[in-house]
Amino acid sequence: MPQDNKLYQELLKQRDEISRQKKEIIESLEYACLIQTALLPQSSSIHKTLHDSFIFYLPKDIVSGDFYWIYERKESVLFAAVDCTGHGVPGALMSILGITSLNEIVNNLDSIKANRILNQLREKIMKSLHQTGQGGESKDGMDISLCIFNRKTKELQYSGANNSLYYIRRDILHEIKPDKMPIGVSGIEEKSFRNNVVKMKKGDVLYIFTDGFPDQFGGPKEKKFKYKPFKNLLLEIHNKNMKEQREILLSTFHAWKRDFEQVDDILIIGVRIN
């Protein structure tokens, strides 16, 4: 029928248009990914700063809401694993705000204290997003584990917003719990983050991470991986070299996930103290 033929032609036209748009979007995101990658620390500089370490970074989409951040200042190394609200494009936009804010704070800081960096970061995010704690405004922000390791004194400062720090010493996993508040506005009035200080020892391995790995659905019962198995996994692998640890984490993740969709961006940083 000539009419059907017309409809068919229209459908083909729409299909082509959608394909064209999709191609454009993917190209645009790939370019955004290049920019985001350029803002993240280069792998060469990571190994120069954190000699024996790995970073397991697996974004859910082309661009990511998780990011890692490393900064060196005199004898101290500052590093963080950060999870911005959302993933994909919105998460990536927040991550750029987070990276630039962190750089700005440490450049102007007189004394280095992990909790003060988080306090200041929260001020910057609140100001940037015009958050005042009143109803009806954006509750966007980020969860973070921030560490400052002094190579000379082997002292580690940790401050966390909703994300913990694990360190394994003599086959025992120790957890330092975070403050239960985000970087950004929340239901309760802002108070200072706690500054946790631990004297690290040679051979200790520490891990900071976002919630992507433990929250991934999969396995035989199609449930979340959860934190206890995650701790056990780290305990199992912590004695292996860092590269191997990263590979095991990756293979374990895929084995667990199987055909399920990746739920969130994934970021795990592991550092061995030498």
Binding site: N119, Q131, G133, E190, K191, S192
Partner: protein, 776 residues
């Protein structure tokens, strides 16, 4: 709207105060010596509101007075209020951005005044707007004049063509005549003599005649064309001419209106100044007559203005090619003679409706008298002592003329008794709330009539006031000045609240403390504090008892440019520049500090710490208490780092030991460098013991963590990435007020050392440790 600042120019001894801001907490005190110009400032602000000034206000240099008042926009939607016409683009945006408006009242040589919207940016926008409009007007005017000139040229050309045509006609006639003559000559020739010559001449003449005829016909056609052109242009020229004439009529009417207005103002002044009823009656007739003339002239003026604008627009549009019919129809619909834009004056007048009520409270008129004639009240004889207070009394009691017409004496007495009770209860309540004490005085008024001992007034009614307590019944003037002042002030407040229907009030009070004893003066301050949420107060004083040492930011210092020269101009210094005021001007503050010094052991032989300003003083005092600092310290606030040098010298002179505490900023560093060099002969170790700085902090506010700063000082949840001091400066906040409120919270025990976070505690602990090492 809330009054937040003023600028006074050419008002008595004042040449230009510059833009001066009032205290943000609604109480502003003007301190200064007698004749410094304090009262002139109050009068100028009051004149801004009333629009009236007396001739003695004018300066001898003939510069005319002008008062700007700055208002913060509160509860007024300026865009909505100014919706009848338009404002030039950008004015509303500017007002919204600044959240303030500036109104200016200026007076002319005839002391008539005008109020207008002001402000540099607003003025600039209006100037651009008027320049554009002026160009358009000029364009129209040029086009109209051009039409007349075109028509004149066309007439001239047409006239010239007609003359040329006439000339050609004469030439044609002459050629005809010449041919006739030759033909006659030919006919009368004899014996064929010269025949050939004549024939040749006739042929030549015929040819010439033909030529002349052709020229004449051409000239005729040219004249017709030019006449037709002139006719066509005459229609445009008529319109242009009508427009020019209408403009001339308008200018004549405008001049007449100005003269008529001046006359009306003059009559009004004479009427206002008439002393008694007789004068008042005489001047009333004159005032009515000039008012009638003014109304008539105003009508003519409005009519001629409308006519001139209409005709100008018709002329311009028709000259630009529109059809006259369409243009007239358009004008009927759009009424172009109504200006669609507010002038600065119109906008100013409109916004003036929303400014607070200004009340001038002064002793002579505002203090309750012993008695007042009803006749003086009814005829509004404002020159009578206590007139305003008596009028307020009647207003607050709800009494009008009809009340006193009551013929039944018993009913009248009963009503008066009831009112006396009511007003007494209300006043006692006010006294208790404002001053925090009880009093048992009763206020009474009675209606009496003059007897024969006053033959001039015999039989006429008057009101007598009494203030009674348990023991005695006295006239107001027999009571203490304090009671009389508070009662009158109470009446003023109540009357203002009634007449202004709840909107803002600004009370200007000249020397409220004069002749009151010290405690009563302190009670006056209590009353001010009690009413400051609903009433703004600006008062003059040279009494230390009317100054709160904890609130020096409330003060403006007023003094002559040249000390003790009453002919020199008046200068105003705000809190930030108090240090530049003279010692005499600041004497009330010094007296107060002196009093406190002796009473509170403000300063001791040892352990005195000089601080850079009052804000630092409040914080240090509060934190010393919170921390439970083990050493006894005495803080001495300077009024700025630059003033520390003189305090240091003073203490050195008295042989008193001290430390100096400043921020780590340029001024603090310079001071430290200077004192190290001059006091400690460059011995840095010694100097470091005595000259202490806030570690790496520019000011004491920066020693608070941002979290504590927001929570306990700002009381706001907002992201502050900058330093606390930068936030205060960027947001134009008062450091002193924030610090004073913080100290109050600490005093009220709402805030403890443990409430502060670790960062703040670290910073201050470090400072106190350092102080502790340096103190004995």
């Amino acid at each position: 709207m809330k009054l937040i600042g003023f600028r006074i120019q050419n008002f008595r001894s004042i040449i230009d105060t510059g833009c001066t801001y009032l205290s943000p907490d609604n109480i502003t005190g003007l301190i200064g010596q007698n004749e410094s110009g304090k009262t002139s400032i109050l009068e100028a602000i009051n004149s801004f509101f009333t629009g009236t000034i007396s001739e003695d206000i004018l300066r001898s240099d003939l510069s005319l007075p002008c008062v700007h008042c700055v208002f913060e926009i509160i509860k007024v939607d300026v865009e909505k209020e100014l919706n009848e016409k338009r404002l030039p683009d950008g004015v509303i945006d500017e007002i919204k951005k600044k959240e303030t408006i500036i109104l200016k009242r200026s007076w002319g040589e005839d002391i008539t005044s005008r109020i207008e919207l002001a402000g540099d940016k607003v003025f600039e926008i209006y100037r651009g707007f008027y320049d554009k409009r002026e160009k358009e007007e000029k364009n129209i005017k040029e086009r109209i004049e051009e039409a007349i000139s075109e028509h004149d040229n066309a007439i001239r050309k047409s006239d010239k063509a007609v003359s040329e045509k006439e000339e050609k006609h004469h030439e044609l006639e002459a050629a005809k005549e010449k041919l006739t003559q030759l033909q006659k000559k030919y006919k009368s020739r004899k014996n064929g003599k010269n025949e050939n010559t004549i024939k040749d001449n006739i042929t030549g003449a015929k040819k010439h005649l033909e030529e002349c005829r052709n020229i004449y016909v051409a000239a005729g056609k040219n004249a017709e064309i030019l006449a037709s052109e002139a006719r066509q242009l005459s229609e445009n020229a008529n319109l242009a001419g009508e427009s020019i004439q209408a403009e001339k009529n308008f200018l004549i009417n405008k001049k007449e209106l100005e003269e008529s207005y001046k006359e009306l103002q003059k009559c009004q002044r004479i009427f206002d100044m008439s002393y008694d009823e007789k004068e008042r009656r005489a001047s009333r007739t004159q005032l009515d007559s000039s008012n009638e003339t003014y109304v008539r002239v105003l009508r003519d003026y409005e009519q001629s203005k409308e006519d001139a604008i209409q005709k100008k627009i018709i002329a311009f549009k028709v000259l630009s090619g529109d059809s006259i019919y369409e243009v007239k129809n358009e004008i009927k619909k759009e009424k172009p003679y109504i200006d669609k834009y507010y002038s600065l004056e119109e906008a100013g007048r409109k916004l003036f409706n929303y400014v607070p009520e200004f009340i001038f409270f002064e002793d002579f008129l505002s203090l309750l008298p012993d008695r007042i004639d009803l006749h003086d009240i009814h005829t509004e004889n404002t020159n009578i002592e206590g007139y305003k207070a008596a009028k307020n009394f009647l207003l607050v009691s709800g009494l009008n003329e009809d009340f006193f017409q009551q013929t039944n004496n018993r009913i009248l007495k009963h009503k008066i008794e009831k009112l006396n009770k009511e007003i007494t209860i209300n006043f006692q309540d006010y006294w208790r709330q404002s001053i925090g004490k009880h009093n048992k005085i009763k206020i009474n008024f009675e209606l009496e009539h003059y007897d024969n001992s006053n033959p001039d007034k015999s039989g006429l009614p008057y009101i007598e006031f009494w203030i009674k307590d348990r023991e005695e019944r006295l006239y107001p003037k027999q009571r203490s000045r304090g009671v009389r002042w508070f009662l009158s002030f109470y009446l003023e407040l109540q009357a203002a609240a009634l007449s202004k229907n709840g909107s803002n009030i600004v009370i200007l009070i000249d020397e409220p403390g004069v002749s009151l004893h010290a405690r009563a003066q302190e009670d006056v301050l209590k009353v001010f504090d009690n009413i400051k949420e609903r009433v703004q107060i600006i008062y003059t004083t040279h009494s230390p008892h009317l100054i709160d040492l904890n609130k020096l930011y409330r003060l403006l210092a007023v003094q002559r440019a040249v000390d003790e020269d009453e002919s020199s101009e008046t200068k105003v210094f705000d809190t930030k520049s108090l240090t530049t005021a003279s010692t005499d001007t600041l004497s009330p503050i010094y007296s107060l500090m002196g009093i406190r010094l002796s009473e509170q052991k403000f300063i001791q032989k040892k352990n005195n710490i000089i601080l850079e300003d009052i804000a630092t003083f409040y914080y240090m005092k509060a934190l010393t208490d919170m921390k439970g600092f083990e050493k006894q310290v005495f803080y001495l606030p300077a009024t700025g780092v630059s003033n520390i040098r003189s305090l240091v010298n003073m203490l050195l002179g008295w042989g008193i030991d001290f430390l100096v505490l400043t921020g780590t900023n340029k001024e603090g560093n310079d001071l430290k460098h200077d004192l190290t060099k001059h006091l400690f002969a460059n011995n840095e170790a010694e100097a470091n013991k005595k000259l202490i700085q806030f570690d790496h902090f520019k000011s004491i506010e920066d020693m608070f963590s941002t979290i504590d700063f927001k929570k306990y000082i700002l009381h706001k949840r907002i992201g502050i990435p900058e330093s606390n001091l930068e936030y205060i400066v960027n947001n134009n906040l008062s450091r002193s007020i924030l610090a004073s409120n913080f100290m109050r919270e600490v005093k009220d025990s709402k805030l403890k050392w443990g409430n502060l976070d670790e960062e703040t505690r670290d910073n201050f602990s470090h400072l106190f440790d350092e102080l502790s090492r340096s103190l004995e």
